[in-house]
Each structure stands twice: as C-alpha cells, then as structure tokens.
Symmetry: C2
Subunit: 163 residues, 2 copies
Amino acid sequence: MRLTTKGRFAVTAMLDLALRESGGPVTLAGISERQGISLSYLEQLFGKLRRAQLVESVRGPGGGYTLARTVAEISVADIIVAVDEPVDATQCGGRENCHDNHRCMTHDLWTSLNATIFDYLSKISLASLVDNQKAKDTSVVQDQRTLRRTAACSDAIAGSNAA
Amino acid sequence: MRLTTKGRFAVTAMLDLALRESGGPVTLAGISERQGISLSYLEQLFGKLRRAQLVESVRGPGGGYTLARTVAEISVADIIVAVDEPVDATQCGGRENCHDNHRCMTHDLWTSLNATIFDYLSKISLASLVDNQKAKDTSVVQDQRTLRRTAACSDAIAGSNAA
DNA sequence: CAATAGTTGACTAAATTACTCGGAATTAGG
DNA sequence: CCTAATTCCGAGTAATTTAGTCAACTATTG
C-alpha cells in the first residue's frame, strides 16, 4: 500500500466522475479541465481503472466513463490499488534474504502496518467522499463571499505537510 | 503523508535501533548488515532523523546512534515525516489554481484524508512495535516451527491499533 | 462519411529512490 | 601522537516512477 500523488490524482478524478455521472458518461477531457490533470495522464489512469473494473467506458460521441459499481461499493483503497504498481513483496518473501529472524520480523511488521492502512482505506467509500463534498458545497452556497476558503485550504494542506 | 519504501526503510532501521540501544550506541554498519540496507543510504536517512531530533549520534570508536526520546515518544508518523520530502502543497495552495470551488474541494478532501492517515500513524509508537517484536521473539522460542507467525503479528498490530 | 471519444503503445523529461565514492571531522585506545 | 572506528557531508549515478506528449487506431453517433 503506497500513498503517492498518483493515487491522489486517481481518487480526485474518480470523485469528479462520481459527482457528475448522473448526467451520463463523463469525458476525460472534462475531468482534465476541471481537475487540472493532463488528458493523456488521465487516459493512462483510466486504462488501469477500467481494467480493474472500477469504471466502464462508452465510446463515440456522447461517450465517456461511468462507474462500474455504485459509489458505496468503491473504496479509496480500490482506486489506489488499481493505479499503483504491484509494489512487489520487497526483499523478504520474493528473495532468499529471509534467513535470520530479525530481518523477517521487521519486514512482516511493515507488512501488517500496510495491511492496517489498507483496511482503513477500504472502509472509506466514494459515497462518503461525495457526501462530504456535497455538504461542503451547500456551506459555500450559504456564504458565497467566503474567500477565506482558499486560505483555509492552503493552511490545511500546509499543515498536513508539516505534520 | 506519503507511504513509500523509503519510509519503510527508516521505520525498519529505527526499530532495529530501538531493539538494541540498551547495549549502547548502535552503529549504522550493524543496522546495514542486519537489515540489508546500504550503509550510505542509512547515512542519508539518519542524517534526516538526527536533524528531526529523533536520534542522537556519538562519534568515534564505540559510537553510533541512540534514540533521542523514549520509544513511547516516537511514532511511525514522526519517522516517515522526518525522511520524506515535504512533498509541497501540490497544485492548490502553492499555485493560483484554486479558483473554482471544485478544484479546491477535491484537494482539501485529499488533505483531510492525509490528515486522518497521519493521525492514525501518530498513534503507533516505536514502543508498541518493539513490544510486538518481542512477543514474537518469545513465541518463536516457544515453538520454533510456528509458521503462522505472520498472521499472529497482523492480529497483534490490528489489536494494538484498535486499543 | 465526418466528427467525437475511447484505446493503445511508444516515447520523454523531470523527480525520486537507492546507492556509490571520496573524503572530512571526531574520538577512543594504544 | 597515531590509528582505527565512526559519524558527517556532498557530489555523482543508475534505476524507477511520475507526469506528460504524440500518433495511430477503433467504435459510435448523426
């Protein structure tokens, strides 16, 4: 289980898709424009998402992508696993390194840590993200002049980085 | 909050250190040998860990590294943050991209996801990892043929997290 | 048939990872 | 003082990943 910007792009794109698919297939060009992700990169990501059966495609004019399952049935973990490389069972396991106990122990400790994080992200569905998003949307509507939102966003991000 | 093999190396090395520092400073050469991580790479990682004040160094013969705090006061999140690059506040925040609501929303949604994972890893201390490790050691002594050790470890960690 | 979109594969620049090398500076022990 | 052990430090580097471009192709609508 790796957490990188690649996974974040995929989650962002899937969220955009989830928020719009009620109006029929969503084009990558649209997602690209709204989310500031290059079209070609999205093509790569959605190729993987499609092969992982998280989305379905409709070709031709009026086509685009739709979710292959309901928003409740797609988790953040699903998305990240779909776009991340297999990561292989580094060192121990694949190799012959696992001779002495200590090496194996630390490795499989990390493995279980990974598993815990994975479990955690498995429980976060696209549905819950969509709900959060919509809740925020209405709060914006309530006070259109709230320009501190941008600052708040920067702060939140800066905080998470510093943290 | 990124989760990469780099962070895993650092956690592994810190765990090795935690398990041995009772016998005085631990050399990087020793960690390198036991954990199969190159000495020079460890030097880089421990440079960051030292600057983050997670470890202290003793130079000269008989020198090495010791933990700068107790095992209970060092979390997995501390270690990962220390060795990972700041990652910068991609897109939103740094740039001027954060114009329309949607872009900012998805970004700051990801940010909160990051924060949640960070909180989670903040609660896993080196001490709890060391305990798990020692528990496994004794169970290995009790029954050398126990190959279910991996499963047991996962359970133990899942348990300590839930607690 | 023409335009719209997805599909695929090859390719690339930049960043990151993991590692090497060569040397400093520091200190314990002889 | 000398030497060996060790941390410290910076430059360099190969492999991988990220993020993106480009071009050709297929399917579908109108």
